[in-house]
């Protein structure tokens, strides 16, 4: 549908708008892309002051770590194909993955499977194919752009970053499942109850959202460290020390996340017509049955969107995890902060960059697959809240 002529912008304004958006896109994407480029080069190329050197990595090529035109084409093609499949099939696979009652578990396992697939293709299948094909291709098979995965190997294998990855997964999975479970119930209750109490609960939640997290952590700290002593009268010798435990951090992050979660889910539930549960109640269901049989089947779009934001909060958190987890249970983001505090040589620096890129790569995929849900989530709270 094109706009009527009087609504169309004159050429000069159009050019201005396009230019403005183009510059913004450059600023928005550049730091992220650049960091990704750096992580594939030898340190000598990574921090060169000439951007062309960083991009092409002549020293990396000279060290025999280059990729050819063929590799590049193959790589781009594969990534594109994977994204295509992921975008169109992700939802369906998640739902039919055998965890019918727990779709979250299904989606989580599908995402993990995909990550594994990508890592295997990138580190095993692709190098294998190119070792076989490149020598027979002449010019197209020669390395022209510096590209090395050694920093990733160093970080993930030698420095055991996979431990932090597992910890991150445990924390995020726990936070998303628990906060969605209790948040959905609360959101539904708040959406269907027009009482003053419900309204005041929402206001209090808004106030809680404004609290700086350090305030809360200052409250947990002494209690968590001494929890074994405090709980000893009740549990005896089995009293747990909460400090350093992933479960304690999950509980904390769930609570911090609750205000936002219930606001968002409430606005989604308000969009589901009340007539739907009313008709179920006419047929003899009570509220909980109505929720179970009528609302649950149609609430998934809202729940997925809210789940995305819970995931982001738990995955991106630095403050809570760095203060309340011990070294052994450290998640990825605080761990990388330790990396770059220790970094001395430029190799260490590039390894820290590789770790950083490893952390944001899943987020990149997340935006690609769930762009629509993220936008709808952001607007749901704002427009209907």
């Amino acid at each position: 549908m094109s706009l009527p002529t009087y609504r169309q912008l004159p050429l000069s304004m159009k050019l201005f708008a396009y230019g403005f958006v183009a510059i913004w896109c450059l600023i928005a994407a550049f730091p992220i892309l650049w960091v990704a480029v750096i992580s594939f080069k030898l340190p000598i190329d990574s921090f060169d002051h000439n951007p062309l050197v960083v991009l092409l990595g002549p020293n990396t090529v000279a060290a025999g770590k280059g990729i050819s035109v063929f590799d590049l084409v193959m790589f781009i093609g594969l990534v594109w194909a994977l994204f295509r499949v992921l975008k169109s099939k992700f939802m369906i696979w998640g739902r039919h993955s055998g965890f019918a009652a727990f779709p979250l578990l299904g989606w989580a396992s599908v995402s993990l499977g995909f990550m594994l697939l990508i890592v295997v293709t990138l580190f095993m299948v692709l190098p294998g194919i190119s070792a076989f094909v490149n020598p027979n291709l002449g010019f197209l098979g020669q390395g022209i752009i510096g590209f090395t995965l050694e920093h990733y190997e160093a970080i993930w294998v030698e420095r055991e970053f996979y431990r932090n990855f597992i910890n991150s997964m445990v924390v995020t999975f726990g936070v998303v499942t628990i906060s969605l479970t209790i948040g959905t119930l609360a959101g539904y209750g708040l959406a269907r109850s027009g009482t003053k109490l419900a309204f005041w609960l929402l206001v209090v939640a808004l106030v809680f959202r404004a609290l700086p997290h350090s305030v809360l952590v200052a409250g947990y700290m002494p209690v968590f460290i001494n929890s074994a002593e405090i709980l000893a009268p009740i549990f005896g010798d089995a009293a747990p020390t909460f400090y350093g435990q992933p479960l304690a951090v999950i509980a904390v992050l769930v609570a911090i996340n609750q205000p936002f979660t219930i606001w968002m889910l409430r606005s989604f539930f308000q969009n589901i017509p009340v007539e739907l549960d009313e008709s179920a109640r006419v047929d003899g269901c009570n509220h909980i049955q109505a929720f179970r049989h009528v609302i649950m089947p149609v609430m998934w779009p809202g729940v997925i969107t809210t789940g995305l934001f819970s995931f982001l909060l738990a995955y991106n958190d630095f403050l809570v995890t760095s203060l309340l987890l011990d070294m052994q249970n450290q998640t990825m983001v605080p761990a990388i902060a330790n990396f770059f505090n220790m970094e001395t040589t430029s190799t260490d620096q590039v390894q820290a960059v590789a770790a950083a890129v490893s952390i944001i790569a899943p987020l990149f995929v997340l935006v690609m697959v769930f762009q629509r849900q993220i936008v709808s989530g952001l607007t749901a709270v704002a427009v209907k809240g």
């Binding site: 912008l9 304004m13 708008a17 396009y18 403005f20 958006v21 913004w24 928005a28 994407a29 730091p31 992220i32 650049w34 960091v35 921090f47 002051h49 000439n50 951007p51 479970t181 209790i182 119930l185 609360a186 209750g189 109850s193 009482t195 419900a198 809680f208 404004a210 609290l211 997290h213 350090s214 305030v215 809360l216 952590v217 200052a218 409250g219 002494p222 769930v254 609570a255 609750q258 009570n286 509220h287 991106n316 403050l319 203060l323 983001v333 990388i336 770059f340 950083a356 952390i359 944001i360 987020l363 997340l366 935006v367 690609m368 762009q371 993220i374 936008v375 607007t379 704002a382 809240g385």
Partner: protein
Amino acid sequence: MKFKTFAWFVGPSLLMMLLFILAPLISVFWQSFNLTQPVMQTQMVETCTPGFITQICVTEEKTIPVLDDEGNMVTTTTFVGFDVYRELLQPEKAWQKITAGDWRGLLLIDFWGALRFTLTFTFITLPLVIGLGLGLAVAVNSLVKSLRGSVIFITLLPFIITPVIGALSIKWLFIGDGILTAALEWWLDKDIAMFAEAWTIEFLMLFYRVWHAAPFAFVVFYAGLQTINSDSLESAVIDGASRLQQLWYIVIPHLMPLIVFVSLIHLMDAYRVFEEIVGFSSQSHVISLQWLTYEFLVPDQAGNRSVSRASASAMLTMIGIIFLLIYPLRKTWKQYYGGNS
């Protein structure tokens, strides 16, 4: 819905919030007036060093912590009133600096410096984020439809990315002779060290925050633009309104509730500024209020955490956010509910 059913639905969530938000608030309040310290005792200690003919022995008084049977330090908690706050705020020294007009000296006290940075950070980024978000929303709205999806995708990246890593990725562009520092040096023809001075770091932190927060404003405003009533725009055109006038008299009033909403969220988030300090490692130049609390909570070399001081600074941080939000919240309140009651 009956109250009992409502309680069943809301209960678990409410319990979590009471247990993990309200309870820590109360305990922070209590801790900030109490000081937990290891019990010390003074003892006469005789230390001898081998010397010629006779040993040289020195007897001196030493303060050592009392240990219990298991070898742990014995601690006591005493009520100290506002002492911890006084230590944090240093009112006499601060007042003396203010009366002497020595602002620089005042900001050298950790708390006041952190407060200064947090407030300037919040209020400088606020208009920039709103302005950039609005500009982007209007500009993207005038693009051809096929481009909009990709533009929104790229725009979401800075918003979705881990804040610490977003800050780091901007830092890495400038660190040492990073490409942007090199480009600036070539352009201005002088030697530049971005991380040697407080104001350049502060500038990068502001830049990072606008970069990170503008996409959120953009997405919300862009959604708002889709619901605008084309009839009112059309009649404005018939009345001969220029594009600027359309923007000012129709689009902005239409988006006003959203602008208020984004501003509120931004005030809350920018006041919490913390990840930038970690990412840009600016703690030796500028710190924020959250960082102040964080630093007290990180164990020092002896493994002690200054929980009381952290609690006091947390209380002060909280009082600050209440002051900051009370005016805009009251105003929105009156706008929505003033007509009814």
